[in-house]
């Protein structure tokens, strides 16, 4: 009998939602655990770095890596798992594009530390004390890691074989990818897997209106009654559907809230935010530069919206 495939799961800077989505597989996960050997999964099982270090290079069949790269520790483990794994799969928005933690790239580390330890309103007279990499306590010395200045994606530190987007990836898609992996039917390396090819707009059942979308004013979701059957953009509410790859099954749209883009850009699009802004710009109903500017000004926080999950992976990040 052939040896079972060896799988590893790891989380770097993330929230744990990717792990919960795997747990959501429920009985399927228990069934799958019969077919594979899980050699490393810090969240749920007791294996250690040393166990990974002891493996031969390439001994892990596939490693699912979630979370962004926020510290040297994250980067170190990413490199170790890359070396030990035949396939390294970027799992979830944070490892794919930086995710929500990547919004921190709007600020540098010092500004973040100043807010948390300098100006937060609940601080007492210890205000201004900063966590210090090496600190002398009365009994000896304590070391803590240095806070990184920028959030990176997994592919910015190691070569990645497959990308599985989503915050988190939905359980059905995770199961599809597991099955394809076990059957040896994954597509060519470098592919985005666990997704559908089109954009969310293409698969969205909402009515877009008869004469095409024309936007005269942008509105914020809490300021309008949200019609559950009509395209959000047609209601003037920004939805990231035009710039977001399909595959999630539209749970947010089902919840009557607009897409925020966690599945990342569709094929052929490098920068999701730029794509969104150009898609929206094309819908604005005026040719007058002044009127155009007025309408554009009704978009609040365009950068934080169009790069909600992708700032660390964006053109903006490269400029910085």
């Amino acid at each position: 009998m052939a040896a079972k495939p060896k799988l590893a799961f790891y989380w770097a800077a993330s929230c744990g939602g990717c792990e919960i989505t795997v747990v959501e597989l429920g009985m399927n996960l228990i069934a799958a655990s019969e077919l594979v050997d899980i050699v490393f999964w810090p969240c749920l099982m007791d294996f250690k770095y040393s166990d990974v270090e002891a493996l031969d290079d390439g001994e892990i069949t596939a490693c699912f890596f979630n979370g962004a790269i926020r510290s040297s520790e994250n980067e170190h483990i990413a490199k170790l798992l890359r070396q030990k794994s035949q396939l390294l799969i970027s799992f979830g928005s944070c490892s794919h594009m930086g995710g929500i933690p990547g919004l921190a790239n709007f600020y540098d580390a010092d500004l973040i530390l100043e807010r948390v330890y300098g100006t937060a309103p609940s601080l007492d007279e210890s205000r201004g004390t900063r966590p210090t990499p090496t600190f002398e306590v009365p009994e000896g010395e304590i070391e803590i890691p240095t806070f990184y200045d920028r959030v990176k994606t997994l592919a910015q530190v190691v070569a990645v074989d497959y990308f599985m987007p989503g915050c988190p990836p939905v359980a059905d898609q995770v199961w599809n990818v597991f099955q394809a992996l076990l059957a040896g039917k994954l597509p060519a390396k470098g592919s985005v897997v666990g997704v559908d090819g089109e954009t969310n707009c293409d698969v969205c059942p909402r009515e877009k209106g008869e004469s095409g979308l024309r936007i005269k004013e942008f509105k914020r979701p809490h300021q309008v009654d949200l019609d559950p059957d009509v395209c959000f953009l047609a209601q003037g509410v920004i939805c990231c559907g035009p710039a977001t790859r399909a595959g999630c099954g539209l749970p947010c749209i089902e919840g009557n809230m607009p897409c925020r883009g966690c599945y990342g850009p569709p094929d052929g699009v490098v920068d999701q935010g730029a794509k969104l802004l150009s898609a929206i710009g094309a819908l604005i109903d005026t040719d007058e530069p002044e009127a155009l500017q007025q309408i554009v000004d009704t978009i609040v926080d365009p950068a934080g919206l169009s790069y909600r999950f992708g700032l660390a992976n964006s053109i903006l990040s490269e400029l910085k």
């Binding site: 250690k48 807010r115 010395e141 809230m257 609040v300 909600r308």
Partner: protein, 487 residues
């Protein structure tokens, strides 16, 4: 002075560490729980529109996303001075109660129960959820998986999805539920009540009927006399979604009861330079360091704390269990940290009962679920009970609703000082004459830690779990003299 490092203290390697320092006699001098990580939500939310916060802040923690989702929606209500319609509040509370069912059950069966049901001395390969299932039977395992999946289904019905929900927005909910959906929720909640009752019975059979476990729960090594915090309704009963925060002292007497917007009068945060996590404490008592008792402002905010801080539970079956709890443990307040597991199951039952009550409320399918805000946004504070403690969101915006300042005091953070103290107390038996006595004692530290269900995903973005440990003991020259591993 000698130093021992326990690294890491969670399954999440590198995101938490305990350093133990020895005195000249080889005994324990001090223990430090070090949290080496930060993501900085307080800063990078600045500039974002406040209505996006329910969808941004839940990425603080994918284990308890609903806590941040709901807290952010409520803080947004406060910023815009808007009061959601009654049906919207009921839908939010239903969603939130159902989330507590899933979260508390996950903790008990996957993290807490392995210690008790499988046993603290069982081989580590069996001390996990699968080991619990093996011990109690496949049928029960399937029942627990069903409980989790069905309560996730409630979140999908009410709020789009469980992990990173979408429907709580400023002024109410983005969508109503249908009569058909309501019926399905009733069905799920009825099954949840039964599974919660079964879980309490299991705890009774396996833990309370075992004198060795009862002795361990009652032992001094797992006891701290602290203040206790929890959200209560107008009758001082436990409430997860709304109300005032009540704080009682080590003697059980009320110290203060406050509304969310008063939190800065009651809670302050202390910084230590050797960790990224801050230490909240009671301002009027003061920060006296890592000590318990009435003169120390250290408080706890856990399931046990909520029971101690309240006068009872708002649902009948949970109230009966509440009374049995204090009758059995000798009255209020209960200071034994390990009793938190039992308190969590009583809350599980309350959450299931409350989900059912709300699903049977005729107003729950109302389409009156939005109040569109008209006031100018400025500042707001909200408080909910997260499963792991009192959760405070405080926002200040400009007149356009863009955030200027965000302050968050999250569930586990409340308990950071107390967890540190519990670790030190449990570790005192660990070290004798400069040696770590045996690795079985490591589990004692782990159990002290795990009772809090600490979620450093919330506090610093790691997750709790069984803790693989390395203890290293160094002599005065810094040479390694002993290493104990449990991997």
């Amino acid at each position: 002075m000698k130093k021992i490092s326990i690294d890491p203290i969670t399954r999440l390697e590198g995101h938490g560490r305990i350093d133990l320092f020895l005195n000249q006699d080889g005994g324990l001098e001090n223990a430090y729980l070090i949290i080496p990580e930060l993501r900085g939500f307080e800063k990078f939310c600045e500039g974002r529109p406040v209505e996006e916060m329910p969808r941004i802040t839940q990425r603080i923690c994918g284990v308890c996303p609903l806590a941040h989702h709901v807290a952010a929606a409520k803080a947004g209500d406060a910023v815009y001075h808007v009061d959601p319609p009654p049906a919207a509040k009921k839908l939010r509370e239903l969603l939130y109660a159902s989330f507590f069912v899933a979260d508390h059950a996950t903790h008990f069966y996957a993290l807490g129960a392995p210690d008790f049901v499988v046993g603290p001395d069982a081989p580590k390969a069996e001390r996990n959820l699968l080991g619990v299932v093996k011990k109690v039977g496949q049928e029960i395992g399937a029942r627990v998986v069903q409980l989790l999946q069905e309560n996730h289904e409630i979140a999908a019905i009410v709020a789009g999805r469980y992990i990173h929900s979408v429907s709580c927005i400023i002024g109410g909910m983005s969508k109503p539920i249908t009569e058909e959906e309501r019926k399905r929720i009733v069905e799920i909640a009825q099954a949840s009540v039964e599974t919660a009752r079964f879980s309490l019975q299991l705890f009774d059979d396996v833990v309370l009927q075992n004198q060795a476990y009862v002795d361990m729960i009652l032992s001094d090594a797992f006891t701290h006399q602290t203040y206790y915090m929890g959200l209560v309704d107008q009758d001082n009963r436990v409430n997860f979604y709304d109300g005032q925060v009540r704080v009682v002292g080590p003697d059980g007497q009320e110290l203060v009861k406050y509304s969310p917007e008063e939190y800065l009068d009651v809670v302050a945060e202390h910084i230590e330079p050797w960790t990224y996590l801050k230490f909240p404490y009671l301002k009027q008592v003061g920060w006296k360091g890592f000590v318990d008792g009435p003169d120390s402002g250290v408080y706890r905010a856990t399931p046990l704390s909520r029971l101690n801080a309240a006068d009872g539970m708002a649902t009948p079956l949970a109230q009966a269990e509440y009374e049995r709890f204090y009758d059995t443990l000798g009255g209020k307040p209960v200071h034994q940290t390990l009793a938190t597991h039992w308190a969590r199951l009583i809350e599980l039952l309350y959450a299931a009962e409350r989900t059912l009550e709300l699903a049977q409320d005729p107003e729950i399918t109302s389409h009156e679920i939005r109040t569109i805000p008209t006031a100018t946004p400025d500042e707001g504070v909200s408080i909910v009970e997260a499963p792991r403690g009192t959760l405070t969101h405080h926002y200040v915006t400009d007149e356009n609703g863009l955030l200027k300042q965000v302050n968050l005091i999250v569930g586990t953070t409340n308990n950071y000082a107390a967890i540190s103290m519990s670790i030190k107390k449990a570790a005192q038996d660990l070290v004798q004459a400069g040696r770590v006595v045996d690795d079985g004692v490591l589990n004692k530290i782990e159990m002290a830690f795990r009772a809090y269900d600490p979620c450093f995903g919330c506090a610093t973005h790691a997750l709790p779990g069984q803790m693989p440990m390395i203890v290293r003991l160094y002599d005065h020259e810094g040479d390694l003299v002993q290493e104990i591993r449990r991997d």
